[in-house]
Amino acid sequence: MKEVILIKNGELALKGLNRRTFEDMLVKNMRRRLESAGKFNFTIAQSTIVAEPMDEFADFDEAVSRIEKIFGIAGFSRAAAVEKDMETILRSAEEYLAPQLLGIRSFKVEAKRSDKKFPLTSPEICRETGGYLLRKFPHLVVDVHNPDLIVTVEVRDNYAYIHGTQLKGAGGMPTGSAGRAAILISGGIDSPVAAYMMAKRGLELIAIHFASPPYTSERAEQKVHSLLKQVSKYSGRITLYVVPFTETQEQIKDNCPEDIFTVIMRRMMMRVSQIIAQREHAGALITGESVGQVASQTMPAIACTDAVCEMPVFRPLIGMDKDEVVAISRKIDTFDISILPYEDCCTVFTPKHPKTRPTLDYVEKCEQALEVDRLVKEAVEGTRFIHINAY
């Protein structure tokens, strides 16, 4: 008896002729993500991917916890792969599922038979298995409507697979299937959540962070590394671009009216980010903005920011409440990192009374005091990058 992971892909099945491409991408992602957990072999058959450890050094539990976070997977199960022989199936089910069956009261059996040469039909497999388990575990009852555990027997080409209730996968689309986009990340609660949400829709991520030493510290950048490391458990490897932003911020502080600092700063960030995104073949920017959350995220302020953007800006949190965002950040374990108290680029020169309804005319007029092109060019040129990967 060998333990494997059975993976059911989600929306993929809907994608018609593209399905094969999507599946290949998912397998490629899984292969990459599981690489450091040991040797696993992947096979695809009838919209199920089987991940099979190739030697005893493969860390099966670790692989399961990684697969849980890979987008494009609707559900998965740990399963026993056994010889296609009813006697073996019954004994293996007893042995393999005993720890689970001992802790519950009711169960039912489901069977799938894709190998039509197997002598028993699906209902017969169910009956045999159910009866056998009832004899071996007399405390159990069968409940077909609301069982504590669904025992599944899948008879496929090479093996029969036995498993309990299927676990929920991370959902979404395989990373990379929707192209590549750049997340603007400061270190707060929102941007990692936005990154996670867009990665879920199949986007491969690069990240852009603005650093303003000495106003921001090395720890603030370290914090961004930690956040992205956590996000990369879902999205796969992320390349982080760190943009030197001190001079831009000081120039804004010295030359522009205080009430408009933040909007001008965000426009500068967008300008720099677009250039980096284009250079790295990313097709969109992603931000963690939500309408009305702070002064720079009012509708007029966002309009002023977007006026400098030539590529789409995805704002997956745009209609979410803070507590909804916090709930996701807790789920993906970024919350506790986000609340570390380091000054970030967004809070350096926060104005006391920011303009909540800036007009584009006013912003553009104020911006004339800046050498926009030079500042953007120097910021892009000074940018360094680092690869971030959780595994």
Partner: protein
Amino acid sequence: MEAYFDNSATTAPCCEAVKAVADAMTNCWGNPSSLHRSGNAAKELLDSSRESIAKCLSVTPEEIFFTSGGTESNNLAVMGAAYQMRRMGRRIVSTAVEHSSIDETLDKLAEEGFEVIKLRVDSYGRINERELYSAVNSNTILITMMLVNNEVGTIMPVQAAKRAAMAARSPAIIHCDAVQAFGKMPVKPVSLGVDLMTVSSHKIHGPKGVGAIYIRKGVKIKPRTFGGEQEKKIRPGTEAMPAIAGFAAAARALPDPQRELEHIRMLRDYMVEKLMELDEIVINSPPDALPYVTNISVLGIKSEPMLNFLSERGICVSSGSACSKGKKSHVLMQMGLDRRRLDSPLRISFSRYTTVQEVDALIQGIAEGKKVIRAVK
């Protein structure tokens, strides 16, 4: 150049301590409670270490109990004394500027029904002795006061605690948190009239993870941990021998505090004089503070960018508080400083290794930082 001015946070271990730790781990790693040769050697090391600490405080070795450090000693002292004395009364008198390991323990006791009084301080972090006298009544079971404030260096009138207790005919146990004073000024529990005293190793160039509590002979407190005969059941658990040996070695290596103090005072005066040549700098520490700690505010420049700027140049200072965004130092707030001073504190703390060259580098760093860093309104 490297210049380290955060000695109130921790100090560089001295070579004596490093050697003692390594020696204890290589040659004397036995369990002091074991009854064989290896255990006996460790027991001897433990005894001699205890003697070294006792000698520094002019007390007997039987009155010294090793712990994991200042925080544990403070927790043990405050809770241990309060629970021991709970039948005698319920009032505890302390100050509003104690270290959080005292402050938060007191809050916990207040939740449990003890009546905790935290004496206010003036703009130099000093308490009013008269207020101390009126706060202590016959119902008072514990008075706890730090000897030197960790953020501004203010020296507290600890010896008044005993007098206040006697005047009020109170049975109070007197505790003193001497973490920032130990090794830097003469510290004698007996002449200060205290029953319990906290000291820590890593503030005197010893290893981290070890400290001690002095418990005057005859004074009883309740332990906080259980499960062994070690440290006379006051603090059970196998003794952290390498750390304890390092602590003792660091204590033996301490120079005469009085003589060292004069040197440090000269250095402090030199620094203050130079700082005064720059504008927009206020000294938050009182003139008679322990000269090892000087708290200043660089008006208009927030602590964090200045700290980062100096750190970039190899100069380590702290902002005094836990460097948290929006969270101001509770000590400076208690001192009633205005917002401009609260936004911009720097704590500069010396050790016996601090040099004039380092001070010069610091002054130059602050001067440059003032020029480069944009001020906030």
